[in-house]
Each structure stands twice: as C-alpha cells, then as structure tokens.
Symmetry: C2
Subunit: 212 residues, 2 copies
Amino acid sequence: MKTSEKNIERLLLYRRILISFKNIGKTNIYSKQLASLADSTPAQVRRDIMSIGYSGSPVHGYDLEKLIDSISEFLDSNNLQKVALVGLGHLGRSIIDYFQGRRPKLMIAAVFDRDPDKIDRVMHGCRCYSNEKILKVIPKENINIAIIAVPASGAQDVADLLVQAGIKGILNYAPVKLTLPPDIYVENRDMILAVEKVAYFARKITTEGSST
Amino acid sequence: MKTSEKNIERLLLYRRILISFKNIGKTNIYSKQLASLADSTPAQVRRDIMSIGYSGSPVHGYDLEKLIDSISEFLDSNNLQKVALVGLGHLGRSIIDYFQGRRPKLMIAAVFDRDPDKIDRVMHGCRCYSNEKILKVIPKENINIAIIAVPASGAQDVADLLVQAGIKGILNYAPVKLTLPPDIYVENRDMILAVEKVAYFARKITTEGSST
DNA sequence: AACATATTGTGAATAAATTCACAGCGTTAA
DNA sequence: TTAACGCTGTGAATTTATTCACAATATGTT
Ligand SMILES: NC(=O)c1ccc[n+]([C@@H]2O[C@H](COP(=O)([O-])OP(=O)(O)OC[C@H]3O[C@@H](n4cnc5c(N)ncnc54)[C@H](O)[C@@H]3O)[C@@H](O)[C@H]2O)c1
Ligand SMILES: NC(=O)c1ccc[n+]([C@@H]2O[C@H](COP(=O)([O-])OP(=O)(O)OC[C@H]3O[C@@H](n4cnc5c(N)ncnc54)[C@H](O)[C@@H]3O)[C@@H](O)[C@H]2O)c1
C-alpha cells in the first residue's frame, strides 16, 4: 500500500469534511460530492478511498459512518497520542485554545516555556512546565510529538531537547530550518512564506484577468 | 514558462535560505549546498533556478545577491502589496507581531475585528477598524490580499465581505472551506490537520523502526 | 597555452500523480 | 423479467514532476 504525503493530507481533509457532512444529518456521500467539497475530482477521491481499502456501493456511494471509521482506522493511533507544546506566547495560547478537545485521539499533554511568569500556570487542563522539565516529563507522559511555537532564536535548542526526550514528530512554527536526525519527521509552517505565496497568486490572477 | 504551485513554494524557501546565507557573509552558493539546506536535490534546485531564467557559473555556482534579486523580481510585485488582517485575537496578534516589517514588499495595512474593545487600538502602526469599514478601507488602501483569523463561524461572512471589497487572495486560518468565486486564490492553513499529519508520520516512523 | 577540476544547464529517462473511460453492479421502474 | 440508470472500482493512458547523466564551461594551475 503506497500512501504518499499528499494522500495522507487529502484523507485528513476528507475525514473532516465527512464528519461535518454527517453532522448535518447525511448518511452517505458520492465521490462527486466529496470531490466538490474538497476541491478535488471524483476520480481522485475514489482512488484515495481505494487506497485505504474501503469500498462503497454503486448505488448509495459511500456510507459516511463507515468511511469515517475506515479513514480513522487507517490514519489514527489506537491509543491516545500525546502532544507537547513549547512556547506559550500569543501563538501558543491560540494553539492550545484551538486544538484542545477537538480530536479524540490527540491531546496536548504538556506545555513548556522558559518564562518564569508562565510556569505552573494551568490552561485547558494542562500545566506549563519550565524547559528543564522536558527531559523528564516527555518520557514519563509518553509524548511522541511536539509543536514548537517559540521565536526562531530558541527553536533549534528546543528541538534538540525534544528529540533527546524521545519526540518523533515536530510541527515547527518558528522560521528556521531545524537540523535533526533523519528519523524525525518535521513539518514546517511558516506564515510569511504562506502570505508570499498568496500574494504571488493573487497578483497573478489580477494581471491575467486584465489581459483580455 | 510553466511554474507550478510547488515551484513557487520552493523558490520562496530558497530565497529565505539565500538571504540568511548572505547574512552570514557568504557571496555565492552551489546547488548542492542550497539543496541540502532546503531538503531538496541539486538537480531540483538547478531546474527551479533555470525556470526563472537565472544562471550561475560552473565555477562559483550562484551569486547570492544576483540570485536573490532574480527570485524577487520573479516572485514579487514591483510596488508594495498591502495585506488586511481580520481577527485580532491571540492568533491575529501573533500574526501581526511576527509579520510586520519582515518583508519589504508586503505590509499589513489594515486590521479588522468586530469586538468594540479592539476597535481603534493601534498595533505596529496600524489601527484596528470595525468590520463595517471593510468595504471602505480595502479599496481605499488598495489592499488585495487578506488573512482570516476569526473563528470558523464568522469566516465565510468575512470572506464574502473581503471579496466584495476587492480582495483577490486569502490566507485562511479558520477551519472551514470557504465558498468563493473561482478567481479568488485561497490558501487554507489548519493546525489540526497539520498535527494529525505529524502524528501519522511520527507513528509510522516509530512502528517501522521497531520492525527490524 | 594546455590541462585538470568541479559545477552548471539541460535533453532524455524515469517515476509519480492524476485523469480517462468503461465494465460491472445493485437498485428501481415498467 | 427485463431494461435502464448512475455510480463505483480500476487498468490503462496521460500528464506532471523529478532525477539522471553528460557535454559545455569558467577558472585555477603548471
Ligand atoms: N509560523 C507562523 O505562522 C508563525 C506565526 C506567528 C509567529 N510565529 C513564530 O512563533 C514565535 C512565537 O510567536 P508568539 O506570537 O507566540 O510570540 P510571543 O513573544 O508572544 O511568545 C513567545 C513565547 O515563547 C517563550 N520562549 C521564548 N524562548 C523560549 C525557549 N527557548 N524555550 C521555551 N520558551 C521560550 C516566551 O517566553 C514566550 O512565552 C514567533 O517568534 C515567530 O517566530 C510563527
Ligand atoms: N489554522 C490554525 O492554525 C489556527 C490556530 C489557532 C486558531 N485558529 C482559528 O482561528 C480562530 C481565532 O483564534 P484566536 O486564538 O485568535 O481566537 P480568539 O478568540 O483569541 O480571537 C478571535 C478574534 O476574532 C474576533 N472575531 C470573531 N468573529 C469575528 C467576525 N465575524 N469578524 C471580525 N472579527 C471577529 C474576535 O473579536 C476576537 O478578537 C479560532 O477560532 C480558530 O478557529 C486556527
């Protein structure tokens, strides 16, 4: 079963769409509908669903509940997967606020910051520790992924510590390339690059449109 | 000249890397070095650079300054391109704080929120307006891209307003699919999907590693 | 001036991703 | 019963993206 990064991204998106579709009372969906909701094509949707081994009915399309379950079985861990967050500034606070309680199999189980004012504060049920506790808390809580929301200057050090503590995947919001062992999965999310991209395509649209 | 979305993303990343490479005193770079900094391959780097019409020297590789300029000429607007931000919560504040002043050709020129407490506050030199001013301020300031950082429930309405005001590109942080005219470029950035993706690959790494 | 060297630029080959197109199927209607 | 329908599942075709591989080249060296 060959599943690329893009495949996984689409499946995650499908699941979110399917859940909200189910929440408005639907019980099934056709590849055409899902494609249109996901800005994709029916053939792409069918291929993706095929790749996880689920199949629908030619008459009713896909059963929402079963499809959601299949995707979840494919994508999720059986157990709860715990997440650490480092950096409790504006971004960190926004993240914890938005994330916590939204996904059944994922939870932010520990927060770290180096600012003494923040240490020991409790947010959404999880206490903020000082960075020195990273090596202790992460293995103890069995956390294997982390979100970095500290300024660029501190990110590499934090990442090194996290890896030392046993983290296997990092979602990095700091604008630096982290240098880490090859068996650590890193996803970078930089807002500036994203705005630049939007700026490029927005401009492209406007200049193309005016050349009629 | 066929430049795909991925192309643009890589060029933006190269530029950032090149700038920081220049800042540590270097004057030139080889495709091999840039590839390793960008987690890419030398051939990919050369192809990408070829696609913008720049060429280097077989002996000294690429001249940093000239390459940065070529990429910028290709990617950037000649004029300043203005950005609107809607939603001045934790996320919005983090965004403005991080973004403002970082890119020479881009600036957040107006901020909107519907909370009366926030209206008329000034942050990083830009005043926060009420949503009602969107239709007035955006055309007046000639803003053509926007960042949405409001809760999911308000995002579609805000997006509709923005489009009506003349926005051509949107960076959307709210977890909803925006339904908009086809000539509007939308980039969605959802943290939950990103964490889920990291969770998947982190797990995959750990389980694969243990099957030796 | 001739040679050695290391890297670029790029056509060609390969690999990966997407789309096409249609057989097969369960359901409904007559 | 039979026919018609509209959708899925998927092999094959196509398109897009990446990598290979090597001639061309600018410079340093003798
Ligand atoms: N990728 C994005 O989309 C995006 C958006 C906004 C900000 N950012 C980045 O995220 C960073 C944080 O943004 P913010 O708005 O929350 O900033 P902030 O200043 O509000 O918060 C930073 C927090 O990190 C803590 N911190 C600093 N160094 C630390 C370290 N070494 N270890 C642990 N904690 C540390 C500080 O005490 C503070 O609480 C910014 O510096 C910026 O680089 C990224
Ligand atoms: N994509 C991501 O990575 C990510 C991360 C965190 C949060 N979020 C999303 O972003 C939203 C904002 O996060 P936050 O932490 O800043 O929340 P917040 O509650 O701190 O701020 C929300 C702000 O939006 C304003 N607002 C609400 N509705 C509005 C409307 N219709 N028009 C204008 N302003 C409006 C509020 O007054 C408030 O200032 C969250 O609801 C969440 O959906 C996304």
